[in-house]
Structure formats: structure tokens, C-alpha cells
Amino acid sequence: MSKLFVNKDKMSYLLRDLTIQVLIYSAIVCVSGVFLWILFDLIRGGSALLSWQFLTDVPRDAGRAGGISSILASTLLVLLIALLAALPISWATAILLTEFISAESPFGRWVRYSLQVLACVPSIIFGLFGYAFFSLYLGLGFSILSGGLTLACMLLPILVSTAEAGLRAVPESYRLSAVALGMSRAATLFHVLLPVAAPAWAAGLLLGIGRAAAETAALMFTSGYVDRMPESLLDSGRVLALHIFDLSMNVPGGDAPAFASALVLILLLLVINLVAMRFTYLWQRKKLNAE
């Protein structure tokens, strides 16, 4: 600290502060510039091919021609499976951790700790696990089902932590009032807590969907590469993110449809994120009114 007080004249301090400020502002301009650059490139490259027909046509000639309808269908199915598997488990976990057992109990700590580690596992590891467990051990092969279940494992931490935050933000007075009225815990949960926490849960759900839609590495060896329209959940189906990867790396001349697919993916995620932000806003306003 003493260094800051030595008798230099005031000018040199001003100069130092100014230099730092210029450096920080140039870093900000750099980051924003690159972000806009990426956005601009994607829009310029993708808008040429993007049309209603592109969305509703099946891919032909390894994806060079045609559209992405079957890819979108596979993506939707994988997401659906992932959510159907992950939501009950993660919401049950969140309710248990906040409403039924103390955060300091050994079981609670173990669950929370293992979810915290799970949140940091790289997606390629989920891919390896899904391949070894769902595809080979359970015999599901390269299928939409095994891809969806792998994604479900990946979504657990984010779904649990958002649902937990939603429940914890409900004022304690609500629970006290419910007890005073003689309600059971389950009744309190369904009639009092969940309606209040619903927007937070919806926001968490959307964040989860966004995370899942962006995933590639975990699905490479679980849901596979086949770009036909999936006929059952045991068919292999290529998701949108993997389609972009395959077009740009393995298909010469696939850049134009890859750009268009990337634009579709980004727009999809943007809409999901904006709706999630809207829900968070609603929830915060509700919370303010409640207090």
C-alpha cells in the first residue's frame, strides 16, 4: 500500500490512471468487436441460403443440397428425450435439497458435491460415458435414445441449481403461513411454493434446452451421424450442431449450408435466451411484489 502514497507529483498518477483506463477500454472494444465480427460473418454467410425451403427440405448429396428438416427433427427428439429424463430427477433433487433435508446433512452434501463436480465434466467425457454405458452396455447402439439420455446426464447440474435457486428465493414467511394453516409439506410445495417459483423454473428449463441444443461432442458417438428422417427412437439421428461440424470438416463444398445451419442454431439459441431472460425478469418482479 505504501507504494501508493510516495511523493510523486500528481501528474504521474493521473497519467498512470489514464493509461490503465485506455488499456481497459481497448480490451472492451476488442471483445465487443470480435463478437460483432462473428455475428456479422454468420449473418452474411448464412442469410443467402436461409429460407423456408431450407428448413423444410431433407438434406441431399451429404448435405450440400436440400435442407435440414430431418436434422431439426432429430435435434427435437434428442432434446425431448433429454428433458423427459432429466427434469423429474433434477426437480426431485432440488425439492429434496431445499425443502426436505438440511443442506448440512451428509446425504445433502454428498448430492450437492457430486453435482458440482458433474457440472465441470467436459462434454467429450459425457460422450465417452454415454457410448460405453447407453450405447454398448445397455445395448441402445447409436440412437436418439442413447444420445438423449447422455444429454440428460449433462443437464442435471444446471437444472438442479436453477430450480434450487428458485425455491430458495421464496420468502420464508410463505412456509410459516402454510404451517400455521396446517398444511402438509407436499401440499405446501404444490399449492404455495411451486406457483411462486414457476418462472424461475421455466428460465432454468430454457437455459437447459439452450445448453443441450448447443452440444456436439457428447453426441458424436451416442446419437450418431445418420442424416435420414428418424423413424423411431432407436434410429441414429444427426443433431444440428453435429451437422455443422460434419459439413465444415468432412464435406468439401459444404460451407454454404453449414453457414445457414449455424445461423439457424444461433437464432434458435438467441430466442431461447431472450425468453429465459424474460422469465427471470417476471420472477424478480414477482419476488419484489411478494416482499
Partner: protein
């Protein structure tokens, strides 16, 4: 709180017990997944761990998996070079972003910039990789062929871990008590004097935790690096040399790997997992608060 066992909306006396039991099963499943992942990686890599000495992954002549040569070292250095390079670039940029949002920007600009960082965090890794492949790689190629290189992967990784660093540093700096900053201003410290002398030291632990989390992300990133790194198995001798990382190696060879080769890929997955878990545990110890 004393919870009443009967109610007009749920008449069964034991509803809470049944409900709680069902919830416990769900939570147990959620917690078991981490153990399952470890178990299955171990199971799949066991055939190789049993009959190949661990040292061979570092002393074999080269990576020729089809001829029983399993030297993972080039991939390990590739991962280390790329992630440490990205950290070197992203740490100053991330901390500068956090400082900007708290100490320099007007509230409106700060919110706007925060949204931008959050959107950057939401861009899928495959899109980063695709942008790198179509924009960055040709640019580097003009400057110094071949383009797909260590430099390209460092730059792309920097963009990908920047949001993690910016948001965790932001959270750590916001948590610094206002009294400290007011005291610093009252003592006549200039803005940078306050940041450097008071705010940064007070937020140090949270920032370090963020750096460790970002390191974990950089090490584990697959798709973006796979697309821009060139994927040649070699020790990089310059920034422009193509490299292959551990994650890219798994993604590239898993599709056709058989027998021992496949088991070795699972071993490298296990290695990665343990590394990332270690980083996470140290980060949790530093930060005490977790960031999902």
C-alpha cells in the same frame, strides 16, 4: 417447524413420507451419475491399464495406435500449450471486462456489456470452431501457412473461456464490501490505486477460483479445437505449427478404434476427467461459492 400430517388438500396421513422417499430416489440417481461415469471409464480402460505400464504412455516412440505405440505426450503438450496460451490472453481481458463493468462503465453500458458477455457464453463451441475454420484459419494462413495451428486454437479458446473469467471476476469484485472502497476513496487513492490496492486483493480468491474453472473448460474443450488446430500429432515448435489435443484425439479416433487402441482412448479420457476434477476441487476450495 412442526408440519401437520393431515390436511384438506392431501388427506393421506403418510403423503409426506412417500413423497420424501420418491424425492430421495431422484436425488440418489442424480448423485450416482458422477460415480457411474468414473466407473465406466475405469471399466473400459481396464484392459489396457492391466497389461500396459503407465509409463509407456510417455515413453513409447510415437503415437501409432495400430502398431501398439501409445505415446500420449504430444497430445498432452498440445493441450497444455493451447490452454495455457488461452489463459494468458483471456485472464487480462476477462479481468479488464469485470473492472469495466464495475468501476468504469455507466450502469446502462455495464448491463449492455454484460448481456454481450452472456451471449458470447451462449455461442455453441461448434459455431466458434466453424467461425475459426472459415475466418481465422484463412487469415493466419495468409500470414504464415498452414493456418490451422496452435495460434488459431489459442485464439478460439480465449474467446470461449473469456465469459467464464469475466463473469466470475465480476461476481468476486461485486462481493467486495462497499466500506473498503469508500475507505480507499476517503484516503485519497485514485481510481486505479483503489482497484489495485484494495478491490483486486480483496477479490483475489474468487478471481483465482474463476481462473481454475476457466482452465478446466479450456482443457476439456473439444469441438472448437478439433476444427482449428490441424490435428497433427507432434510437439509444437512454433505458434504456427498444427497440434492435436487430448480431447481432439478422442473425438477423431473413437469412431474406428478397436481393442487396446479404444481402451487407450478411454485412459486419456480418464486422465482428462481426473485433471478437471482436481481443478474443480481446488477452485471450490478457493472460491467457496460454486458457479455452474
Amino acid at each position: 417447524m412442526i408440519w401437520w400430517k393431515h390436511s384438506i388438500s392431501f388427506l393421506s396421513a403418510s403423503i409426506d413420507r412417500w413423497f420424501s422417499a420418491a424425492l430421495r430416489i431422484g436425488a440418489l440417481l442424480a448423485a450416482l451419475i458422477m460415480l457411474f461415469i468414473l466407473l465406466f471409464l475405469l471399466l473400459e480402460s481396464w484392459p489396457v491399464l492391466r497389461h500396459i505400464a503407465l509409463m509407456r504412455f510417455f515413453t513409447d516412440e510415437a503415437w501409432h495406435p495400430l502398431e501398439d505405440q501409445y505415446n500420449l505426450l504430444p497430445m498432452v503438450t498440445g493441450t497444455l500449450y493451447a490452454s495455457s496460451g488461452a489463459l494468458l490472453l483471456a485472464i487480462p481481458l476477462g479481468i479488464a471486462s469485470a473492472l469495466f463493468m464495475i468501476f468504469y462503465a455507466t450502469p446502462r453500458t455495464a448491463v449492455l456489456y454484460r448481456r454481450l458477455i452472456e451471449l458470447l457464453a451462449g455461442i455453441p463451441s461448434v459455431v466458434f470452431g466453424f467461425w475459426g475454420l472459415t475466418t481465422l484459419v484463412p487469415l493466419i494462413n495468409q500470414w504464415h501457412p498452414p493456418g490451422a495451428s496452435l495460434l488459431a486454437s489459442i485464439l478460439i479458446l480465449t474467446l470461449m473461456i473469456l465469459p467464464t473469467l469475466a463473469l466470475t471476476s465480476y461476481a468476486a469484485l461485486v462481493a467486495v464490501p462497499k466500506d473498503y472502497l469508500q475507505a480507499a476513496v476517503a484516503l485519497g487513492l485514485s481510481r486505479w490505486g483503489m482497484i489495485y490496492g484494495v478491490a483486486l486483493p480483496a477479490a483475489r480468491k474468487g478471481i483465482v477460483a474463476g481462473i481454475l474453472l476457466a482452465a478446466g473448460r479450456a482443457i476439456g474443450e473439444t469441438m472448437a479445437v478439433l476444427m482449428v488446430a490441424g490435428n497433427v500429432v507432434q510437439h509444437a515448435d512454433s505458434l504456427f505449427a498444427p497440434i492435436r489435443t487430448l480431447t481432439a484425439n478422442i473425438a477423431l479416433e473413437m469412431a474406428y478404434a478397436m481393442g487396446d487402441h479404444r481402451a487407450v482412448l478411454f485412459v486419456s479420457g480418464l486422465l482428462l476427467l481426473l485433471l478437471v476434477i482436481a481443478l474443480t476441487i481446488i477452485a471450490a476450495w478457493f472460491g467457496k461459492t460454486h458457479h455452474v
